[in-house]
Symmetry: C2
Subunit: 307 residues, 2 copies
């Protein structure tokens, strides 16, 4: 059950109210791969990096069963670089620097060896590029999950709508769901968005958890209440990696199984925010993940007593 992941592999410099980093490894595809590789092998990356991207970082992923044949290394350009500063609430941030570098030329090619992938995760990218990736598959993957962001809603709306019709699961945050639909109520927003193409919608609400909708049902997963959120960067991508990883591992894309997948994604994300960048994701063991999954059961399980 292989997963193909398309997204950025990059450098981030992050400032929070509590600490700051120099350039560390980031990028949506990086976080997805670290999370998903706990669950399924191979995770097949499609990305682009510059000459400055450390070979050791690619090796670190390869050791986890991540295939990097689809990662293009451009010898005369730098890797994508993003720098941001979080506000005190850790839910909002200001972008300080965006250096596209190699990303400006990103024209992802699906390697032949990836053609059998049953699961496709499209990280947040130019919608036209997301579309091009889907169209390169000779046989449509069983499940396509996509992420996007406000910038594409505002600047590439027609292209984005086209991609919506080609995917199974759309993953957005609450403000993006409201922006796409023009509805404040997330229930109303979901109804409208599900008419645009995706069969499933996941609305991420950060510390307030995540909602899963299909045409008839809704499921809610909380975020684990944490003493400290150290760095939220990559939490959404880590969530996505845990989500698609669980679906791929079980080979079951039903609404019921997506509930569990969202809990798995939430558990992975709860580790991600405990340290800067991918640091915590590199440390955790299967036992750590399982004990956190049990915490989620404790967090939300209750005995029903009808009145």
């Amino acid at each position: 059950m292989s997963i193909t992941v398309v997204g950025t592999m990059a450098f981030d410099a992050i400032e929070t109210p509590f600490d700051k980093t120099d350039k560390i490894i980031g990028g949506s595809a990086t976080y997805v791969a670290y999370a998903a590789s706990n669950l399924v092998k191979p995770v097949q990356q499609i990305s682009i990096v510059g000459y400055d991207f450390p070979e050791t970082e690619l090796q670190s992923l390869q050791q986890r069963g991540v295939v990097t044949d689809g990662v293009v290394i451009v010898p005369d350009k730098k890797s994508f670089f993003w720098s941001g500063k979080y506000h005190l609430d850790m839910n909002t941030r200001d972008t300080l620097i965006t250096d596209l570098n190699v990303l400006a030329d990103f024209d992802p090619q699906v390697p032949d060896s990836y053609q059998d992938s049953e699961y496709l995760m499209l990280g947040n990218l130019v919608p036209a590029i997301q579309q091009k990736v889907i169209e390169q598959f000779n046989k449509r993957p069983k499940l396509i999950v996509m992420d996007t962001m406000n910038f594409w809603i505002e600047t590439a709306w027609e292209d984005l709508k086209k991609v919506f019709t080609m995917v199974d699961v759309l993953l957005v945050n609450d403000s993006e769901a409201r922006q796409i639909s023009g509805e404040f109520s997330l229930v109303k927003a979901a109804k409208k968005i599900l008419k645009m193409g995706p069969k499933f919608l996941i609305v991420k609400k950060g510390e307030h958890g995540a909602l899963l909708f299909n045409e008839n049902s809704v499921f809610f997963a909380p975020a684990l209440p944490l003493e400290d959120v150290f760095d939220p960067t990559g939490a959404g991508d880590t969530f996505a990696g845990g989500f698609i990883g669980h679906i791929a591992k079980t080979g079951n894309a039903s609404f019921e199984n997506m509930k569990t997948a969202i809990i798995v994604g939430s558990a992975m994300a709860s580790f991600c925010v405990e340290k800067f960048g991918t640091q915590r994701l590199k440390e955790i063991s299967i036992n750590d993940i399982n004990s956190r999954l049990k915490e989620f059961v404790q967090l939300v399980n209750f005995d029903i007593a009808l009145v």
Copy 2:
């Protein structure tokens, strides 16, 4: 298993982005009684109203098993009146008018017939008055639940801290929990607050659900995702009524049973917001409540799959 409820019975005039009302019946004790009386009888009210409070409203409560012997009717003064206007997000509101009227003289007396109450719900009131009510019980109730608000945190902090040492469950919203503790993280806030006296802390987060803490555990209950929140007034008090009602009905104040009580409270609150004031709470049947409880099970239940 009787409950004694102390709080306001009053008039509200409410404006939302979608509609507005003239004076309608409100008050914390009113909402608590409508919710709790679905679960347990008698619910024994302690409140104060003016000559203008409709006799029919008291009768409507009495028909549900609510005892109003402790409701003082002041013949020459008006009832407490509050008017407010909600913002578009329905989470924040501006107070337009606060006419204390009879509430300025509220000196609640616990009737002899209420002395056997095992459960006491202290609505949001002057902390010194909450304390006086507790002290009037010859035998301490088995479980005391209290609500409060930012105004008392700011103006009667020493009195409030004293009441914290006398109760079992403190019920506040997220901003109040942060204000009381000086901590942004709700997990850290809960740790501090639980050292101030209450054995249990419930943090209400409006549309984002509610958290229950004790020294060792945490439980999360979502709010039901609704297409429309028509009027949030009284939702917190309705939640409290459902919560203490379930505890009283089952006679079990364990953490595990409080989880279910919070779901019951959330289900009751989800009805409250569907219409203005107490209107929806007056309409609903036990069947309605049970089918909503089942919706909550669907909303949060998942199969755990360890990795």
